[in-house]
């Protein structure tokens, strides 16, 4: 544009017989005016577009909040872009809010449903207990399984929200382990699993109910994938005692089938059913138990990892920080 106008001016002036020096001077003037104009136009655009690119890169904040981080455009195309981005983002935010509300509502429904269904389970349990015998004993066992699945649904709903509805308290490992073993006594006894505890007289910080559920999943797994002479050992150990990084390891170790090495990295994945989960004659695995274990532990700031050797043992280690300021 600028070049074209300079060319035009040159042609007219040379045609009109203007002095050569004047033409050159005018050219220089026109050229610098052009450069100046481009620069003045370019700088705010550059600033604006790089802020757009930065804000929508998804580093840190959601792109839905991009306009908050964008420079105010001082030119008309910028304003149009700013408005369009804001319109799209607003629609996105509305949809996200609606989805969030739906999820919260669904979660509330699951919680309410779980509490409702516990009542008939409880009634059936009492009725079975009042009519002792082989059939009632079997029914009580099945009721226990139903209750286990119902709890899984409850904790799944609880684990999938941002709310903190757990209470981190100082609890003794001995108490939570004993309660969990008692709650799953039926499965352990049916599987003839010998239970041993070692050095559990240690306080940790956790939600007793959540840890109880986590231990329950580990116990049921140990029963499911047991060896002919099953044994389940709970032991605790304090690491880095006296240091800021002091923590308590609770190891839950069985002498069962073990997990194949190639399955080990994925055991905490949602829906993962390893080779053991597909064994003949086994109850089908849902691929949900260990996933929930990991999620609940993550929320509480409790570490969890699994070591195993196929045909030998499986050891799940829960790591409780003793200094809660580290995790919250």
């Amino acid at each position: 544009m600028t070049l074209l106008s300079i060319l035009l001016v040159n042609v007219i002036m040379v045609g009109a017989g203007t002095d050569h020096d004047v033409v050159v001077l005018l050219d220089i003037l026109l050229a610098s005016a052009g450069v100046l104009r481009v620069t003045v136009d370019y700088l705010p655009r550059r600033r604006f577009w790089s802020s757009v690119s930065e804000a929508t890169s998804g580093n840190g904040t959601s792109p839905l909040n991009a306009v908050e981080l964008m420079e105010d455009p001082s030119f008309v195309e910028g304003e149009i872009a700013w408005d369009s981005i804001e319109t799209v983002a607003r629609a996105g935010r509305i949809e996200a809010d609606a989805a969030h509300d739906d999820a919260a509502e669904y979660r509330e429904y699951v919680e309410a449903w779980v509490h409702e269904v516990k009542t008939p389970i409880a009634a059936a349990r009492i009725i079975a207990d009042c009519n002792p015998g082989q059939a009632s004993s079997s029914i009580a066992r099945e009721l226990g399984r139903i209750d286990g699945y119902v709890d899984q649904a409850l904790y799944f709903a609880r684990s999938s929200t941002l709310d903190r509805d757990y209470v981190i308290r100082n609890v003794r490992l001995n108490d939570v382990v004993t309660d969990a073993v008692k709650a799953h006594a039926r499965s352990l006894i049916d599987g003839s699993v010998r239970v041993e505890v070692k050095g559990l007289d240690v306080p940790v910080y956790a939600d007793a109910k959540w840890i109880g559920f986590v231990l329950g999943q580990l116990i049921e797994n140990a029963v499911k994938y047991r060896s002919p002479a099953p044994r389940l050992l709970f032991s605790a150990q304090v690491r880095n005692r006296g240091c800021a990084s002091e923590c308590v390891d609770l190891a839950v170790e069985d002498n069962g089938l073990g997990v194949p090495a190639e399955d080990l990295p994925r055991v905490f994945d949602k829906g993962f059913v390893g080779q053991n989960g597909r064994l003949e004659g086994q109850k089908k695995s849902t691929g949900l138990g260990l996933y929930l274990v990991k999620r609940l532990c993550d929320k509480m700031g409790v570490g969890v990892c699994m070591e195993s050797e196929q045909g030998s043992y499986t050891r799940v280690k829960l790591t409780f920080p003793t200094n809660r300021t580290q995790v919250i």
Binding site: K118, T119, A122, A123, I126, P132, I189
Partner: protein, 220 residues
């Protein structure tokens, strides 16, 4: 024998619980109308209250607090809300114990008996069967005019068998019951415990009271 008030809105649970308590020698009082639930409960003058927290059109926690402010009788809160917060809250409301649905009847009975004992020597139900009387709160058994003391496991086994008198109690059921109170006994320990119980009963001149059903369990 104790009068036990059941404050529970679910019909099935109410009647099942009442039946279960009756079978175990208690006197259940069911409360199904919740308009003046605190007054109705106090009028019934129970020795212990089983309170469901999820009552219709009424907050169970309010009932709990009001009962506690007007009486010192033991209150066991029975609820399907199982969060840590719920449990802590119930204790601050003055409940004496907290039990989550679904629970085993045996666990509930043990808790009831423990609370009755603590609440002032109120003797829990005495169980009788075939000339043998079991005093659960004192952990003694009486027959032929003689009384002997039982160990904790012996008491639990015998109480369970007498409560289920006439039917075979599977070994696993007995073990689950023992696990609730004590170390996690295995199959062999159960056999040892049963044999020791037989010897104890032998001291009373009661023989062949416990019947072994091979592969199934025991009965009285």
């Amino acid at each position: 024998m104790a009068r036990i008030a059941i404050i529970e809105d679910d019909e099935s649970i109410r009647s099942a619980l009442a039946g279960m308590l009756e079978m175990n020698g208690h006197e259940p009082v069911t409360i199904a109308s919740f308009d003046h639930v605190v007054d109705t409960t106090l009028e019934a003058n129970p020795d212990l209250v089983l309170l469901d927290l999820n009552l219709p059109s009424l907050d169970g926690t309010v009932v709990c607090r009001e009962l506690r402010s007007r009486s010192s009788m033991p209150i066991i809160v029975v609820t399907s809300r199982t969060g840590e917060i719920d449990e802590v809250m119930c204790m601050t409301l003055g409940a004496d114990d907290f039990i989550a649905k679904p629970y085993s009847s045996h666990v509930l009975l043990v808790r009831i008996e423990a609370l009755l004992r603590r609440a002032g020597g109120m003797s829990a139900a005495a169980l009788s069967h075939k000339g043998l009387t079991l005093d659960v709160s004192r952990s003694t058994v009486t027959a032929n005019g003689r009384t002997v003391e039982l160990t904790k496991n012996e008491l639990r086994i015998l109480a369970l068998l007498i409560r289920s008198a006439g039917s075979i109690v599977p070994r696993e059921t007995i073990m689950v019951e023992l696990w609730d109170s004590d170390a996690f006994v295995d199959d062999n320990t159960l056999t040892v415990n049963v044999n020791r119980l037989r010897q104890t009963l032998g001291k009373l001149g009661v023989n062949d009271y416990l019947v072994t059903h091979r592969g199934l369990g025991y009965s009285v």
